[in-house]
């Protein structure tokens, strides 16, 4: 079982200020979904940024390694790092309203990097974009590709961003609270879509969220982050039945679905993991994490 992403003892701090991540370690296996939960400000996004090479300049790496597909990103010169990340990973951002360039048409925002960086021809790239937009169930694809972002709804834009994330067939996608900014009604669809897409493409997913309910639906394993530290790392059904760390229990208790009326924990209902009942999932269970 290859650890496609392997973060070892990553410590970050604000330059001349407080530590933001304390020796964080975390692994994502090829083709699996790893959840990263914790309350706002815990440092979830910082982990995602460290993986994708987009840490703010004010943040300093104190130590640690970020192995992506067998290469320690932190040991690479910035140019190579960026290229490497562009080839192997992608981001599904939090807020679809701000994640598309307002002055560019949607189509090129998906295709340009295929042409500019990967050297595809324009027609290949366009064809690829059409296929992906179809996979994320966007109607009237030619019109959408010609639109500017402000002409599309939030849900549509998030679909575009999902399609775009899969464009270069990354092996890992970081989804940073991809549904938080959306209407409740749209959230479910988008969540389903992400699951479906990553299964179809066999992509590993680092799924950042503060919502345990979401984790139970899409993840194979998870890390619980609290104030910059990983307090618990667990396999999926086990975590919901027997959370170990007190903070995890508190977090679970705050997610009412999983509690009996008398306050004791319920076993995870079968439907909770329906979305991950697929080849990859069974494969993962057979291969076995260290639970």
């Amino acid at each position: 079982m290859t650890q496609f992403l392997d973060i070892r003892n990553l410590t970050l701090r604000l330059r001349g200020g407080p530590i933001i991540l304390w020796s964080v370690s975390l692994r994502v296996t090829s083709g699996m979904v790893h959840g990263l939960v914790g309350e706002s400000g815990a440092g979830k996004s910082m982990i995602g940024k460290a993986v994708l090479g987009t840490l703010p300049r004010a943040i300093e790496v104190m130590g640690g390694e970020v192995w992506l597909d067998g290469v320690d990103l932190l040991a690479l010169p910035p140019r190579d790092r960026r290229r490497r990340i562009g080839e192997t990973a992608a981001l599904i951002p939090q807020d679809p309203l701000t994640a598309l360039n307002p002055s560019k048409r949607v189509g090129p925002q998906i295709t340009r990097r295929l042409i500019d960086i990967l050297g595809w021809s324009k027609s290949e790239a366009d064809q690829r974009a059409r296929t992906l937009l179809d996979e994320v169930r966007i109607p009237d694809i030619p019109r959408v590709m010609r639109s500017y972002p402000h002409e599309l709804s939030g849900g549509m834009r998030q679909r575009v961003l999902i399609a775009s994330a899969f464009a270069a067939e990354p092996k890992l996608i970081v989804a940073d609270e991809p549904t938080t900014a959306l209407d409740v009604t749209v959230q479910k669809q988008i969540l389903r879509l992400i699951s479906e897409m990553r299964i179809r493409h066999g992509t590993a997913l680092l799924f950042v969220t503060h919502d345990l309910g979401v984790v139970s639906k899409v993840c194979n394993s998870l890390s619980v982050l609290y104030a910059g530290r990983v307090v618990e790392e667990a396999q999926m059904p086990r975590f919901f039945m027997r959370p170990i760390h007190p903070y995890s229990r508190a977090l679970l208790a705050a997610t009412p679905t999983y509690l009996d009326p008398d306050g004791s924990l319920q076993p995870v209902p079968a439907n909770v993991i329906e979305d991950v009942e697929n080849e990859n999932h069974h494969h993962a269970l057979r291969a076995g994490y260290d639970v």
Binding site: L52, R82, R83, L91, P93, T98, A99, I117, Y148, E151
Partner: protein, 336 residues
């Protein structure tokens, strides 16, 4: 449709503005002391001589009558005759306009190139010593007005290290026969790049003096906008796609960050053209501004009026062009 209506509104506003400028300049220069007729006659001219000439130029009529006659003429395209040069004002003014336009545009290009480069470097190396250097440079450039930069340049490159010409638009030894007054553009279109180079080197010093403060303003505002844009999500997303930081700044951030700077350039460009009056004088550059100073010294009322109105027309047109560009560059406005 909305675009068209906005355009019409703007044209109407422009007409009103120009009329206002005409009124103000007409009456203002007439309340300033100094008699143009007395100045053109040799000392010892008789009262009758003066009165006769006054009548010839219409200065004997009431101010209101003079204004009505003059504005009627202007509407027919007749700006009167220069008192000091005794040629039609429109010919004089249009003959000098190209020189000033070429100087201003050259200065504008230098300002955009220098300012843009500094903004780019400041953004690329943000939060480092290089950004601080950019800030200090632009701060210094801004705290000194263009005519003082002109004096600095004259001292440095005219006197101490004379590599650039500091006097005149063309060298007297330049044998090229120009058929228009747009020397640089004409030489360019006739593919005489040696002449273009000559002309550019002649006007480089005055253009640079005009450009330095504007370059500094552009650098400051554009860098600020770029840095703000660099934090936005779509820029971050572009980084994760493997683009270099240079590409991210120029292709992702710049198109969205440039709008405030563009508006600013529009406004500042009119100031820059205003600056040509003194700069052309300092560098003996044969443009409109230089002519304006002579006109004021000679109390050449028709010529002053002509020059001021031409400047005003130029400014309103520039503002219009900038606003149109703004709409073209910002898709949100276009579809609003």
């Amino acid at each position: 449709m909305i675009f068209l209506r906005a355009l019409l509104t703007r044209l109407l506003t422009m007409a009103i503005t120009l009329f206002g400028v005409a009124v103000v300049v007409f009456f203002l220069i007439r309340v300033v002391p100094g008699n143009p007729i007395a100045m053109m006659l040799p000392p010892g001219a008789t009262e009758e001589d003066i009165a006769r000439l006054q009548a010839l130029y219409g200065f004997d009529k009431s101010l209101l009558q003079q204004f009505l006659i003059w504005s009627g003429d202007v509407l027919r395209g007749d700006f009167g005759t220069s008192i000091s040069l005794r040629q039609p004002v429109s010919e004089l003014v249009l003959g000098r306009l190209p020189a000033t336009l070429e100087l201003s545009l050259f200065a504008l290009l230098i300002a955009i190139a220098l300012g843009g480069l500094m903004a780019f470097l400041g953004t690329l190396y943000r939060h480092s010593a290089a950004e601080a250097a950019v800030d200090v440079t632009t701060g210094t450039a801004l705290s000194v007005p263009d005519f003082l930069w002109a004096l600095v340049l004259i001292l440095l490159f005219g006197v101490l290290w004379p590599v650039f010409s500091i006097s005149g638009r063309v060298s007297p030894s330049q044998a090229f026969e120009f058929t228009t007054d747009f020397y640089i553009i004409e030489a360019f279109l006739r593919l005489r790049f040696d002449v273009v180079a000559h002309l550019l080197s002649r006007s480089f010093m005055p253009a640079l003096a005009l450009a330095i403060p504007l370059a500094a303003i552009i650098a400051q505002l554009l860098k600020q906008s770029l840095k703000e844009t660099m934090h936005l999500d779509y820029v971050t997303l572009a980084r994760t796609k493997g683009y270099s930081e240079t590409w991210v700044i120029l292709r992702e951030a710049l198109p969205n960050a440039v709008l405030p700077t563009l508006t600013l350039i529009g406004v500042q460009f009119t100031f820059l053209i205003g600056g040509t009056v003194i700069i052309e004088r300092l560098f003996s550059y044969e443009g409109l501004g230089n002519m304006a100073i002579d006109a004021v010294i000679n109390r050449d009322l028709p010529l002053i009026q002509g020059i001021v109105i031409l400047f005003a027309a130029l400014f309103t047109v520039i503002n219009l062009v900038v606003d149109m560009l703004y709409v073209v560059l910002n898709p949100k406005l276009r579809h609003a």
